[in-house]
C-alpha cells in the first residue's frame, strides 16, 4: 500500500501580484519501505517539493492538488487540508527531515545529546530517566563510535560527517515512518558521503523506513533508490522504477543526465547539456526543456506535453520519446 | 526620480515614514516664507490666544504665533539632529574602520574608548557643561555628536570584520588591488546599508535628547527656539494654554516616529534576504 500519494501538486509563489509557478502537476506514490530519489539541477524545485510535503512552505507560497499520507495508526490524512496543529504533531513523529546544512539545522549552543533528549521528550513516550540511554543508543545506531563524547559535544566541535549523522539521529528520534533527506551528503567529502549512504541504507532496512532522497548526484540516485523522479524547472519530466529509468530513459533530459553520469564513471569527459536551466520567473513557453533539447520540434515550443504512461510505473512528459528499442 | 519613488513605495513603513518626514521638512523649510508672522516678533495684545483662523495653533505668552514658531523650531531641531548625526557617523566610521583594519593593540584601545564613552551618563554631562553657561547651538551639536558615535563605530567594526573574510575580498587581494581600493570599493558599500539604518535611527534619538535638554531650559536659548523650547513654554498652565505644549509635543513625536519608520523600512529592504530578487 502506498504510504504517500501526491496528486497534481502545484506550488505557486506570488510576490507583488505576479505568480511564479515553482512546481507544476507533480504526481507520484511511494510504497511503504521504498526509496524515492528526486533528482534535478539547482533551481528545479527539489527542496520546494520536500517542504510542501512536510507543510513547511515559506510565506507567500501556496499549494494546490492533493497529498495523502497514511499515518501509523492507519488513517488517511490529507496534508494540504490538515490543521497546522496536526501537522506539528506529525513532524518528527510521522515524517522526519534531514537538511543539507546539518550544522545550520542544529542549535549551536545546546549539546548534541540534549537536542536529542529534547526531541524525545516531545515526540516519544520514553520516560525521563531512560531518555539519555536512548539518545546514546541512537547516536550509536547512526555509526558514531563514541556516543558518550558526542552526547556532550557542541555541534561546532564535530566534523561535517559527524554533524550530519547527529542530525540524522535527531530526525530518527521520533521514530518516523517517512524520512525526507534534502541533499544530506552534498557537503560531505567522498568517503564520508559513501559512509553516510551506507548508513542510510542500513537504517532503512532495520527500521523499515520509507525514504525520499533529494540529490543532484545521478549516481547516488541510481545506486540507492527504488524509484526516481526527475525534475526540470519545476516540471516532472520523468518518473519510474530505477531499473526502468536506468535501462531505458524515455525523456531526452533523463537520457542526457544518465549519459553524463555513465561517462564520468568510465573516466571520459562527456558532452554537457548545452545552455542553462530555464528560470522559474520567466519560463519558456511549451516544454520547459525545449531550449536545451536535441529533439525539440515546433510543437515543443508552443505546447506543454502531458504525461504519458509507458507502463503503469513509468511516466514521462515529452512529445518525442527517446527510442525505446 | 522615479527610481527613488519606486524604492520608497516598496516598503510600507518606509513609505509612511518618508511622507511624515517629508511633510515636516517642507513645513519647516518653506513654511516661514508663507507665514505672515515672524517667529520672534512679539505682540502682547494678542497674547495667549487659543487656536483660531488667524493663528491656527494659537499664540504664546508674548503673543507670538505658535505656528510660525513651530516652523522655525523645526529648522533648529532637525538641523541640530541631522548635523550631529552626520558628525557622529563620520567619527564612528573612521574609528570603526581603523579598529577593524589595524587590529591589535590599537583595536583594543579604541574599543575600550567606546566602552568608556558608552559608560558616561551623557545627558548629565551635557547638562553640566551647558549649566555652566557655555550654551550655543554649535556646542549642542558637538556634544550630541561626541556622545553618539560609539554605536556606529561598533557596528562598522563588526561588519567590516565579517566582510573582510568574504571570498570576494580574498579575490580582490589576489588581484593585487591596493588596500585603499578594497576598503572603499569592496568593503564600505557593503557596510553602507547597516550604517544608513543606524544613522536614521540615531537621528530620532538625537531629536529626543535635544528636545529634553531644551525642555529643561538648558538647550536652545531665546531668541532661537526648538520644539523642546516651545514645549517648555506651555508648562506654567498646561490645561489653560494646552495648544503650546500639545502641538510641539505632536511634532516631536511625529518626527521620531517618522525617522523610526524610515529606519525600519530601510532595514527590511537592505536585509540580504530581500536583495535576492530585486
Amino acid at each position: 500500500m502506498s504510504l504517500l500519494t501526491v496528486e497534481n501538486l502545484s506550488v505557486v509563489n506570488s510576490p507583488s501580484g505576479r505568480s511564479i509557478s515553482i512546481l507544476r502537476n507533480i504526481s507520484f506514490s511511494l510504497n511503504s519501505g521504498e526509496t524515492l530519489a528526486v533528482i534535478g539541477e539547482t533551481g528545479s524545485g527539489k527542496s520546494m517539493l520536500c517542504k510542501s510535503i512536510i507543510g513547511l512552505l515559506p510565506p507567500g507560497f501556496s499549494r494546490s492538488g492533493n497529498i495523502w499520507y497514511i499515518s501509523s495508526d492507519n488513517t488517511k490524512i490529507s496534508i494540504i487540508t490538515a490543521e497546522e496543529s496536526d501537522l506539528l504533531n506529525m513532524r518528527g513523529r510521522e515524517i522526519g527531515m534531514v537538511f543539507q546544512e546539518a550544522v545550520a539545522s542544529l542549535n549551536p549552543v545546546v549539546r548534541c545529546g540534549n537536542q536529542i533528549t529534547d526531541v524525545l521528550s516531545v515526540k516519544s513516550k520514553i520516560e525521563k530517566n531512560k531518555r539519555k540511554k536512548h539518545a546514546l543508543k541512537l547516536l550509536e545506531t547512526v555509526g558514531l563510535s563514541e556516543p558518550e563524547r558526542i552526547f556532550h559535544a557542541y555541534p561546532h566541535q564535530l566534523s561535517g560527517g559527524m554533524t550530519q549523522r547527529v542530525a540524522l539521529a535527531l530526525a530518527l528520534a521520533g521514530e518516523p515512518q517517512l524520512l525526507i533527506a534534502d541533499e544530506p551528503s552534498s557537503s560531505l567529502d567522498s568517503i564520508s558521503k559513501k559512509y553516510y549512504l551506507n548508513l542510510l541504507n542500513r537504517l532503512k532496512q532495520e527500521n523499515n523506513l520509507t525514504l525520499i532522497l533529494v540529490t543532484h548526484d545521478v549516481d547516488e540516485a541510481l545506486s540507492f533508490a527504488d524509484n526516481i523522479l526527475v525534475l526540470y524547472a519545476g516540471c516532472m519530466t520523468e518518473y519510474g522504477r530505477t531499473g526502468d529509468i536506468q535501462k531505458s530513459p524515455a525523456h531526452p533530459y533523463t537520457k542526457a543526465l544518465l549519459d553524463i553520469a555513465r561517462a564520468l564513471k568510465e573516466n571520459n569527459l562527456p558532452a554537457a547539456i548545452p545552455g542553462e536551466i530555464s528560470s522559474l520567473t520567466n519560463p519558456p513557453p511549451g516544454c520547459r526543456f525545449h531550449p536545451r533539447c536535441p529533439k525539440a520540434q515546433d510543437i515543443c515550443r508552443v505546447k506543454e506535453p502531458s504525461s504519458i504512461c509507458i507502463s503503469n510505473s513509468h511516466s514521462v512528459r515529452c512529445f518525442f520519446l527517446v527510442d525505446l528499442s | 526620480m522615479k527610481r527613488i519613488v519606486d524604492f520608497i513605495c516598496s516598503d510600507k513603513s518606509l513609505y509612511v515614514g518618508s511622507i511624515l518626514i517629508g511633510i515636516i521638512i517642507i513645513f519647516s523649510l518653506i513654511g516661514p516664507s508663507l507665514s505672515p508672522y515672524n517667529y520672534s516678533s512679539q505682540n502682547l495684545s494678542e497674547a495667549l490666544q487659543s487656536p483660531s483662523v488667524s493663528h491656527p495653533l494659537g499664540t504664546d505668552y508674548y503673543g507670538r504665533d505658535v505656528l510660525a514658531r513651530m516652523m522655525h523650531g523645526g529648522q533648529i531641531t532637525l538641523g541640530i539632529a541631522l548635523l550631529a548625526t552626520t558628525i557622529a557617523v563620520l567619527i564612528g566610521m573612521i574609528i570603526g574602520l581603523i579598529s577593524a583594519f589595524v587590529g591589535g593593540w590599537l583595536d583594543r584601545i579604541l574599543m575600550r574608548l567606546v566602552d568608556i564613552m558608552l559608560g558616561f551618563p551623557k545627558l548629565f554631562i551635557i547638562l553640566l557643561v551647558i549649566g555652566m553657561g557655555y550654551s550655543s547651538i554649535g556646542l549642542i551639536i558637538l556634544f550630541l555628536a561626541i556622545f553618539s558615535w560609539m554605536e556606529i563605530a561598533r557596528i562598522v567594526r563588526s561588519e567590516v570584520l565579517v566582510i573582510k573574510e568574504q571570498l570576494y575580498i580574498k579575490s580582490a587581494e589576489a588581484i593585487g588591488l591596493r588596500r585603499r581600493r578594497i576598503i572603499f570599493i569592496h568593503i564600505l558599500p557593503n557596510v553602507m546599508g547597516t550604517i544608513i539604518v543606524s544613522s536614521v535611527l540615531l537621528i530620532s534619538t538625537l531629536i529626543l535628547i535635544e528636545s529634553s535638554i531644551s525642555f529643561l531650559g538648558l538647550g536652545v536659548q531665546p531668541p532661537n527656539a526648538s520644539w523642546g523650547t516651545i514645549l517648555t513654554e506651555g508648562r506654567f498652565d498646561p490645561i489653560g494654554t494646552w495648544w503650546i505644549s500639545v502641538f510641539s509635543g505632536i511634532f516631536i513625536i511625529a518626527a521620531i516616529i517618522g525617522f523610526n519608520l524610515i529606519g525600519d523600512g530601510l532595514r527590511n529592504i537592505l536585509d540580504p534576504k530581500f536583495t535576492g530578487n530585486s
Binding site: 567522498s190 541504507n201 545506486s223 554537457a272 547539456i273 | 593585487g176 558599500p189
Partner: protein
C-alpha cells in the same frame, strides 16, 4: 603533451612546507596548536595540472591559501618562478600576485554582490600590471569562458552557479596568470554545469599553457583535470604520482579508500565502508 611537460620549466616549488595554527585560549578553551600541514614538498611545471586529494580537514586548503599568500607558512619555502614568495618586498609581491589566481569552491561568495559582472572584470583588467599579451576587453574574456557578452550587465545574484564560476575564471584570466589555484572548482556545481567547467578548464590550460593546483576530495573529477596527483592525509602526502598510474595501481590504503568512495555502485547494507 607529455613530452611538452617534461621540457618546460618549474613554475611553483614547495619544499618541506609546514603550517601551524595557534588558537589563542579563550575563557572556555585552552591554547591549541593545530598542525595543518606537516612537511609537504612538490613542484608544478608550466602547463601542468597538479591535484591534491584528501578528505576535508586534511590540510589541502591550507597549502592553497599559503601559495596565494594568505596564510604564512611556519617553515619551508614556497618559490614561484624561482623566487620565494614569502621573502619578497612589497613591490615584487605586487608584481607577482596577479600571476597566481584563485578560483574558489564558494563561487557565489567570491563575487562582490554589489558589482555588475562588467565592473568585476574591468577591475581585474585595470589591476593588471604586467605586459598585455592576452588580456582583452570584457567581451573577449566572457567569450573565452563561453558566456554571452550581454551577461556583463547583470549582478552576481542573477547568474546560475555555472555562470558565476565562469565569471570567477574570467576575472582570473584578466590578470594574465600563469598558475590557477582551483579549490574544489566544480564540486558544488550541478552535473552538467560541472562537466562544462571541466571542459573549459582543460581548454584554457591547453590554449594558454596554464598550470593548475587543484584541491579536491572527489577523484572522479580530479582524474579528468590533472596530470599528477598527490593524496594527502593528516597534513602529509601519503602517495604522489602521475594521475593514471596512481589511480590504476594505488599502493597506499588511503588512496584505495578514496578510489572506492568515488564508486557508489557497491553500497553495503552494513553501514560500514
Amino acid at each position: 603533451m607529455q613530452a611538452g611537460i617534461t621540457a618546460s620549466k618549474t613554475l611553483l616549488q614547495i619544499q618541506n612546507l609546514r603550517i601551524v595554527y595557534q588558537q589563542k585560549s579563550t575563557f572556555f578553551t585552552a591554547d591549541q596548536t593545530v598542525h595543518a600541514v606537516n612537511g609537504v614538498s612538490f613542484s608544478i611545471r608550466q602547463g601542468e595540472s597538479f591535484a591534491i586529494v584528501g578528505r576535508s580537514g586534511c590540510g589541502k586548503t591550507s597549502i592553497a591559501m599559503s601559495a596565494l599568500g594568505f596564510v604564512k607558512p611556519s617553515a619551508g619555502a614556497i618559490s614561484f618562478m624561482g623566487k620565494n614568495i614569502w621573502q619578497l618586498n612589497r613591490k615584487n609581491i605586487r608584481r607577482l600576485r596577479p600571476l597566481i589566481q584563485p578560483v574558489f569552491q564558494d563561487y557565489g561568495n567570491s563575487l562582490n554582490p554589489r558589482m555588475t559582472v562588467n565592473k568585476i572584470i574591468i577591475e581585474a583588467l585595470r589591476a593588471q600590471p604586467n605586459d598585455q599579451t592576452r588580456t582583452g576587453n570584457v567581451k573577449q574574456l566572457l567569450d573565452t569562458v563561453g558566456l554571452d557578452s550581454e551577461i556583463r550587465w547583470r549582478y552576481p545574484h542573477q547568474l546560475s552557479g555555472g555562470q558565476k564560476q565562469r565569471i570567477n575564471i574570467a576575472r582570473a584570466l584578466a590578470l594574465n596568470p600563469k598558475l590557477l589555484i582551483l579549490d574544489e572548482p566544480v564540486s558544488s556545481q550541478d552535473l552538467s554545469a560541472g562537466v562544462q567547467l571541466i571542459e573549459l578548464l582543460n581548454r584554457l590550460k591547453q590554449t594558454y599553457q596554464l598550470s593548475y593546483l587543484l584541491i579536491s576530495h572527489n577523484l572522479s573529477i580530479v582524474r579528468l583535470l590533472s596530470d599528477r596527483i598527490a593524496i594527502m592525509k593528516n597534513g602529509v602526502f601519503t602517495e604522489q604520482g602521475p594521475a593514471e598510474t596512481l589511480l590504476q595501481h594505488p599502493s597506499d590504503n588511503h588512496t584505495k579508500e578514496l578510489i572506492d568512495a568515488s564508486n557508489l555502485t557497491n553500497l553495503s547494507k552494513t553501514g560500514l565502508v
